[in-house]
Symmetry: C2
Subunit: 427 residues, 2 copies
């Protein structure tokens, strides 16, 4: 039985989840795998702080050097989160020939090349299953189960906080602000919720997923990002009437050498598999040329689900020691200059406006859409609110730029009081 | 770049799917993985038969010895299907130190111990991703992503034919016979559909899945099996009214050292993730103590989806050559005599009967349920068909045996014309 000493960086939610799993299920796991794993050191900010789980004080240190310089430690699992100092710690660990298991989406998304290169040079592993979609093993599935496929499309619900908020808004008819406040009280949303509700968290994860799936580097700044703060109950109500559910989707599509990558609120048909993903659940929907449609669904956050991914990486890293498996970035299909990132993508659009309640308005606005080559699939115009009335269009497939130009011209019309929202639709 | 010569046994649907993928995407895959794979020989019954895909005639042989005795061939992928002669070929191949990739659920379900033992003794690999749920990488996920979990429950839609039939019956109000006939014409059901509609196919797959998930040997004869031939449109209609969708589920549950494994038609709530699985799609829903609920959804059959699983196994087998990963059967958690297979399980039941339309019937039947400790959750009694009327009960959780005993006594009552169906309900 091979023995491995490992260290944790950080001991918050995810770290203590992984520790619990190793404590409770470790003996069985290790027996099956023929290995033995011992957590030898844990880096924490405050070694005297009272912990929610019982832990031998001698394991704790606040000095990273105790870990980096310990030749017995062959693997480090990082759960500090955020870019700094996590990136420096990871890089130093790789240089000291220690395999890395990380849950850090931001560091992976921003510094993939440098980390992978350093790992290869030092012949150690770099594992990051927990960085995307918590307990859902999407990284391993893309890397080691879909090798035979050209993956052409990914649509993911990869941020649980926003999915929780949108589910509550949809099912209980409540406002964004009210649900956010509740989510913060329940601990589902951070005191500063920006990273979730503005789509940064999903953007980091999409960068990792699409880089892996398309075998080429998709950087954070290649991704269009729009959060959910402008979604109202009116949008949701009219969307339902049209057969749509709202989700914050992370979308990556490849067509020839063109890639589009975007995170934004999206209407999907209510019978789409992703529409059944409620509350804080995550799901990733993939289209491959061989496998067809594939979806993985599960818990995208939480101590034990994310801990499950961490422990899986640790066990695989120790078992694979003789042959670490890397992402395929450095022997990818394309050279960077062969790729075109396309932000004038083609999709369908839900456009909600408030117009004056007078004859000829519909014809005038439809005329402007027509002028920009935007064809209309359905319209809702009803109710009389006195002087104004809501008017909703759903378009056939149109270009992002055509829609933007049409909206600009529509806004100039006297009969148009406000263009309330534009929400993309994916079928 | 390491070079591998491989052989195929069989060249039907799955074999030609795998061949197509290797032909079309092989160069990219192999470049990324740093390996080179060549199909050197293909065993077919008739070497002169016209094939749907273009293939060099010199690759074809009808003599298994040309493959087993070729020292250059290090891996054999088997798609013959059925127990014999596939099992003998696989065993001989392993003894000749050739790694096996198989799609053969029956051989794995029936002969796992012998195959795994022979593979270990000969230090070659045994891969069987394609044996369960086609393109869905459920074997690898259970084996290499959920190691940290005690898996306590699996519920799977793992037979596409029956799911197609039940979907059509539910959505179009058509009879089992009519939809089966259509499915046979479309090639979704075999000319002899027994293996699918009577649940044998799902039973083999459940044996593999539960053996793997519970780290103990679950044999075919441990599994309760019931097909879908008795499901009627009446069952489906009343089920809908109660908020249920019907599926043929493969269920495995572990409680302490008790295991229950069963394949039968099942009502599930319409908002259960498995209820969104329509037509020929498959899905596997797993509960782990760390990961929580996890579901994988995709195509469970077809040349390219199953080919995707085959190619993934081939690539992994060649890449892992230095360290093959086996199932954990031989270092499992339990000794066989520590396990109790429980067939007196506890679940909820939908019971549909036709009774005489006269006062006191409901009280009488409810009384019998009460006598056997079966508590009723809901009842539907309505319509007057002259002398007879349908009467439907849904029970709270009850034991299989209590239900059987209650039904036996109910059948003896004069007021009961027929007990039409008993369908288990899972929440």
């Amino acid at each position: 039985m091979k023995e491995f000493n490992i260290a944790f960086l950080g001991f918050g939610n995810v770290g203590s989840g992984a520790y619990k799993i190793i404590n409770e299920n470790g003996n069985k796991i290790f027996k099956r795998e023929g290995i033995s794993i011992k957590v030898k050191k844990i880096l924490v900010r405050d070694v005297t702080k009272k912990r929610s789980i019982d832990i031998d004080a001698s394991l704790l240190t606040n000095n990273i050097k105790d870990i980096l310089d310990d030749p017995e430690i062959s693997l480090i699992a990082e759960f500090i989160g955020g870019e700094n100092p996590a990136k420096e710690y990871i890089l130093s660990a790789l240089k000291n020939k220690k395999t890395i298991v990380t849950a850090n989406k931001e560091v992976m998304a921003r510094h993939w090349e440098e980390l992978e290169k350093t790992a290869r040079q030092n012949e150690v592993g770099l594992y990051y299953e927990a960085s995307v979609a918590g307990g859902i093993p999407i990284i391993k599935v893309v890397r080691e189960s879909l090798q035979g496929n050209n993956i052409n499309e990914i649509m993911g619900i990869i941020n649980g906080t926003t999915n929780y908020i949108l589910t509550k808004m949809s099912e209980e008819g409540r406002s964004f602000e009210s649900v956010l406040l509740e989510a913060q009280k329940l601990g589902y949303a951070e005191p500063d919720p920006t990273s979730d509700i503005e789509g940064y968290d999903a953007m980091f994860k999409l960068s990792i997923l699409s880089t892996l799936a398309f075998h080429t580097r998709v950087r954070v700044n290649n991704i269009y990002r729009e959060g959910i703060t402008n979604i109202t109950t009116e949008d949701i109500t009219f969307g339902k009437e049209l057969g749509f559910s709202i989700r914050l989707l992370a979308i990556a599509k490849k067509l020839g050498n063109k890639i589009e990558v975007r995170v934004h609120p999206t209407f999907i048909p209510t019978d789409h598999p992703l529409a059944s993903v409620r509350n804080a659940y995550n799901a990733v929907f993939i289209k491959g040329d061989a496998v067809g449609n594939l979806m993985l669904y599960g818990r995208g956050a939480g101590d034990l689900p994310t801990g499950s991914a961490i422990v899986s990486d640790i066990v695989n890293a120790c078992s694979n020691q003789s042959k670490h498996i890397y992402s395929t970035l450095y022997n990818g299909d394309w050279k960077p200059d062969e790729i075109l990132f396309n932000d004038n993508w083609e999709t369908e659009y839900f456009i909600r406006m408030t117009v004056k309640d007078q004859p000829g308005v519909l014809a005038k606005i439809a005329g402007i859409f027509g002028k920009f080559g935007v064809s209309i699939a359905s319209v809702i115009q009803k109710g009389r609110n006195g002087n104004s009335t809501p008017l909703i269009f759903v378009t056939h497939k149109a270009r992002e730029l055509s829609i933007a130009n049409a909206i600009n011209e529509i806004k100039k019309e006297d009969v148009v009081i406000r263009v309330e929202n534009v929400i993309r639709v994916e079928q």
